[in-house]
Symmetry: C2
Subunit: 318 residues, 2 copies
């Protein structure tokens, strides 16, 4: 199979490329390096089955040409800056909603019929049901990021109905592990490197969140693509547990051997639109035989380990 | 109050403008006449409290200037061509999703804090619960039109959370009555005018649909804006009944005094993405004291009457 990956130099895209190449597939990676990193594609580029094209999803001509010959698209490119959506509202519209539209149009032009898409558990807004299943009550969006992802889901579903495509839509919890470049572990690591005596925490530290290790995320997506064959295949991806931010901090501090004073900004939410409790029901993906190898504690530890071995990332992603 | 109405020369926008002017408010209407009709604003233009500005929602500069001084926005402008979304996929993205983003940005620029939005019952896709409540299970989108409306809902909700706005989101069934310009009554009337002996019907005629009269639609929106004061006020608008397309045809034929041969294209759906059963739960809006004055039969009759008295519309909207 020949796969086309958008966001190919990102955390998830580059990890998937490596996995697909290891399985003997051909991969074309597409990325504009707006947040992706050249280091993440170094390994893939050593493969004769990998082609990297530097390009932007808003350049519809380049995108269409780059996608030629693909059997399936993994569309991961996105503005993943959840916290600062209100600082630049057009970014989510352009990089997420319009970019997804462009990917779908490029697929039509190239007669590519399968797409996998990275959505987010944040599309459930502030749900009332935990763990939250895929068919939870119709949610109200609370962040521009999630609104752009729900727009992408809607576009993809409508294209499947209207143009006979097949889609795999994954609603992720936060992903951890090697090549992790943003989020609370990253922020806390960086803070503690600068000052091991104090840690500033957004909110009251009691936000409950769920995390999934990148290797489990990749295996879940490949399992779904292999075993589920509906027109629209929608899956929550996560572990069947959650932790408080404070518990996550315990693991990070233990791993780093520090005991900082914890200073809280206060409030139930870390930022506007932050969901104080994310915990997804993953029965559907588990019913296909998939299960995660890492629990959250192990994922956090492995992430701290990876950052420790790759401190260049702290400079690369300021 | 000073209201800003997008799609002001359209069916619903022009009707609302007349209602607001009758209540003594000031109204600025904005429309590019892409589907709106100059005749529909003739009455409003006679009022000293009405200002009409011909402009496009994709012209962000003109939009921002036009909105100056508004207390609240009614955003009705949209590509409402549900059936032919797959013929021009970019139209829903531009006219609905991006246009809604532009309206929200113009509101930010002008510090306008309240918006009402015309969404659609089609956002429920093909629901499993009837009548379908606002908190029905998270739906899968089946049409580009509905996908663009759910994108608009998401943007508006996220802006309410992020920028302290208040919104009124209305999920409409199909609206009938004076100034109705597209939909099944229009199509059937036109066909029967050309050939009273035969009527071509999309699908098997057994699609079950719900309709609301424009006067009831206007009173429902004004009731919600008056009596509901959440950050995000989301309401289904419809009657508590539905009819088969065939029953609707009975009413039309009776009113016109014709008995055509009915020829069906076949299938459960009239077109790709058509929902074979639309019936919304309207308990929430009724709980505010609103109830419709027209049942569906009376709405269809009144629509046939209006088209009969305004046959110019058949030429104006080919």
């Amino acid at each position: 199979m020949q796969y086309f990956i958008t966001g190919a130099a990102g955390f998830i895209g580059s990890s998937l490329a490596d996995a697909l190449l290891a399985q003997g597939h051909r991969v074309t990676g597409y990325d504009n390096f707006s947040t992706g990193l050249p280091k993440f594609i170094e390994k893939a580029k050593k493969s004769a089955d990998y082609l990297f094209i530097e390009g932007d999803l808003l350049d519809t001509h380049a995108l269409k040409n780059a996608m030629a010959g693909a059997d399936m698209v993994f569309h991961f490119a996105a503005n993943a800056d959840v916290r600062f959506g209100t600082h630049h509202p057009s970014r989510d519209l352009e990089q997420n909603t319009i970019a997804t539209f462009n990917v779908l149009e490029a697929m039509r032009a190239n007669a590519v019929e399968r797409i996998a898409f990275s959505s987010t558990g944040s599309v459930y807004g502030e749900p009332e049901i935990f763990p939250t299943p895929e068919n939870a009550p119709f949610p109200v969006q609370t962040s521009l990021y999630a609104a752009s992802k729900i727009a992408g889901e809607g576009l993809i579903s409508a294209y499947c109905h209207g143009f006979g495509m097949r889609s795999y839509i994954f609603r992720f919890v936060s992903i951890l592990g090697a090549r992790y470049t943003h989020g609370h572990v990253f922020d806390f690591y960086k803070q503690l490197q600068n000052n091991p005596a104090q840690l500033n925490i957004l909110g009251n530290g009691k936000q409950r969140k769920s995390y999934l290790h990148i290797s489990d995320c990749i295996s879940a997506m490949l399992t779904a693509c292999d075993k589920s064959n509906e027109k629209i295949n929608l899956f929550n991806l996560g572990t069947d547990e959650y932790v408080e931010v404070n518990q996550s901090i315990d693991v990070i501090c233990e791993k780093l051997g520090v005991s900082p004073k914890r200073v809280y900004s206060g409030g139930q939410r870390g930022w506007i639109g932050d969901s104080p409790f994310i915990f997804l029901d993953t029965k559907k993906i588990r019913s296909l035989g998939w299960k995660p190898q890492y629990d959250i504690r192990a994922s956090v530890k492995d992430t701290v380990r990876w950052i420790g071995e790759n401190e260049w990332i702290l400079e690369a992603r300021k």
